[in-house]
Assembly symmetry: C2
């Protein structure tokens, strides 16, 4: 395996009836901004649980954060943070709310320009400070509750971009699996597929002799394949919800990524589909991933074969037949939880492929764990999904 550094100080509070513990985790004298999304936390009672736990705190609210949170919305929150002299941010919601809150936390203390610099000048402009934040997670999916990454979309230019910094790691995240009980099928399915593809980005690359990382990645995949359908068929199955929730957090807290190459090309291409057509993040991954496996079967051969054998028991046929079978099993799994995997299923017009390809051509960025996916291969991958 490669050399690496790993540090993840996020405190996880996991389990039934844990939301009230939020009061113990925030400094008593803090002025807190509660951030949330479209209001589902009010319907489910999570909002009341949080408000009740924090009744002795000085609390300001900012709702209305969208799925694939908008830069424009975050900038309004940053204004509010400054005006109200907020000193702690509490995200209550799914990955979009947590991601937006990270951007707000860093943006509020950025004095050298527009916080979009974190995305636009990534690697040049680094986050040097951020307000402390915590999270009450209501939707297992993105892993944002235990990492320092965030993705934000600028509506003005239809750009969806990421940044990362240890300064925006949550101080704590509360994960109550009972939050899963009230999720619609669509969000459960999105969460399962999102976590699944997060594992793929860190696992399905090339072999660097990392058997433990491989087995932990495979452990998450198998658990998602087993537990995801249980959650879908019985939303009150607490243990299935808990196993799903924990798997989604472990899928992207960095621990399976130590010492191994990472891909993230599926995400980069998927982000474009969301930017142009507003398709749910997880669904864009389900569209792109099978094309990625197909077009990059040479780069990824050994790992696809290992994945096929260990996860799906595929051990007969030529290498190409086994790779095709592994791709088919992956597609079947996504479809089985109700997530379509082809561009026409989402009414994406064919000319979107040219638009996306042209963006990658202009930027000159090459994707993938070997940095060898250029705009022409992006086109091939997307055409495979027609």
């Amino acid at each position: 395996m490669y050399n690496f550094e790993y540090k993840n100080p996020v405190k996880i509070i996991f389990g039934k009836e844990t939301i009230s513990k939020v009061a113990d985790e925030i400094p008593k004298d803090a002025k807190v901004l509660l951030t949330y999304g479209g209001g589902s936390i009010k319907r489910t009672g999570v909002y009341d649980q949080v408000k009740n736990a924090l009744k002795d705190f000085n609390l300001v609210e900012f709702g209305g954060i969208e799925p694939n949170p908008h830069y424009e919305t975050c900038m309004k929150a940053i204004e509010l943070v400054k005006a109200e002299e907020i000193d702690f941010l509490l995200a209550v919601g799914g990955g979009s709310v947590v991601d937006a809150t990270k951007f707000i936390a860093a943006g509020a203390l950025y004095e050298n320009g527009d916080p979009w610099d974190f995305m636009e000048k990534r690697g040049i402009v680094n986050v040097e400070k951020a307000l402390p934040l915590g999270a009450v997670l209501t939707l297992p999916a993105t892993g944002s509750e235990m990492n320092g990454n965030a993705v934000v979309t600028k509506m003005a230019t239809q750009e969806k971009k990421a940044f990362g910094s240890p300064f925006v790691l949550p101080q704590f995240s509360i994960l109550d699996p009972e939050c899963v009980f009230t999720l619609p099928d669509k969000q459960v399915a999105n969460g399962v597929v999102d976590a699944f593809v997060h594992v793929f980005e860190q696992y399905l690359t090339f072999d660097v002799n990392s058997p433990l990382q491989d087995r932990w990645a495979e452990g998450i995949l198998t658990t998602l394949i087993e537990e995801g359908p249980k959650v879908l068929s019985d939303r009150k199955d607490y243990q299935a919800a808990a196993n799903f929730m924990w798997s989604a957090t472990m899928a992207l807290n960095g621990i399976i990524a130590v010492g191994v190459p990472q891909d993230w090309a599926t995400h980069m291409i998927g982000h474009e589909l969301t930017a142009y057509h507003g398709i749910d993040h997880a669904r864009t991954l389900a569209i792109v991933l099978p094309g990625m496996m197909h077009i990059k079967r040479h780069n990824k051969k050994d790992k696809i074969l290992q994945y096929g054998e260990r996860i799906w028991g595929i051990n007969a046929g030529t290498d190409d037949e086994r790779i095709d079978a592994a791709i088919a099993k992956t597609v079947d799994f996504f479809e089985s939880v109700g997530i379509s995997t082809k561009l026409p299923d989402y009414d994406v017009p064919v000319d979107t492929i040219a638009k996306i390809t042209s963006r990658f051509e202009k930027s000159g960025i090459k994707l993938g764990e070997k940095g060898d996916i250029d705009f022409k291969e992006v086109e091939e991958i997307l055409k495979d999904r027609l």
Copy 2:
């Protein structure tokens, strides 16, 4: 799974030629106590690497920490820390040096009595502060480099006891797998078995529906079974050394223990064998564990069957036959790396069993994940190992 809290902020720096990075992790103005053991770090060159990296630091040294570190030795180090007004501790060595350094770090700031209180009055007296510490790990085995636990032996009373506190979590640990190159066979074998049994204490209990924790535990076991013998047969196999080292750290950093019952009875009984006869820690575990599996086969039935099937492919026969086969495979593995598993192999006299049993009878402590192992069962477990 059960509710849980998890936080592990230790920074891991892992890989080839990383020891020099120690200089970046310690505050420049700190007065540092370098703690180490019997001097093997001088033979291997690790001492020189550390000294060279820290040549601009204000450094004091304390060597001579024993395997199964002595309380009496730690107390001398605490005197030195106070006299020299040390403000950072750097442990360079294996788990014994790291454990001792944790005790020194907490003991140096304990003002209400004898630091042995942390052990003797565990749960009543809690560590409330400690000097910051870091580690350069030279021996994969105990996992101490990424947890807040320590075990110390009081020679005066032949007691080996543990304490734990988040205050003694290392600020950082540097893991250079090349340190494995110079280890004698005995220490490699001890490390493999120690890590293996750490996993068992957190895994081989009863089922609480925690499939991901199970698979991660099994991933570590399989990796130790594969990589341990490779390290033994070719000490310069860097990748095998790295996989072994990472597995040992992951075996006891708390991540596989979240939300599941834990046992630790094998350790508690093993500690007595070390206290009375100075047997290497890992070897005491290899002695006790097969007896534990045999006598507690009813408590642990489902997990032993799962372990047997997933790790050793045992899937034929009655439950008892499969359990016997799983125990036999475990014994074979320990013996295959050169670790004997019976009391007579270590010349332990039979009357030691009565002494140990009597200690557990007097303390009234009941062991195991169900708290149902009393002194009579301790006796049965030890007699099984004659």
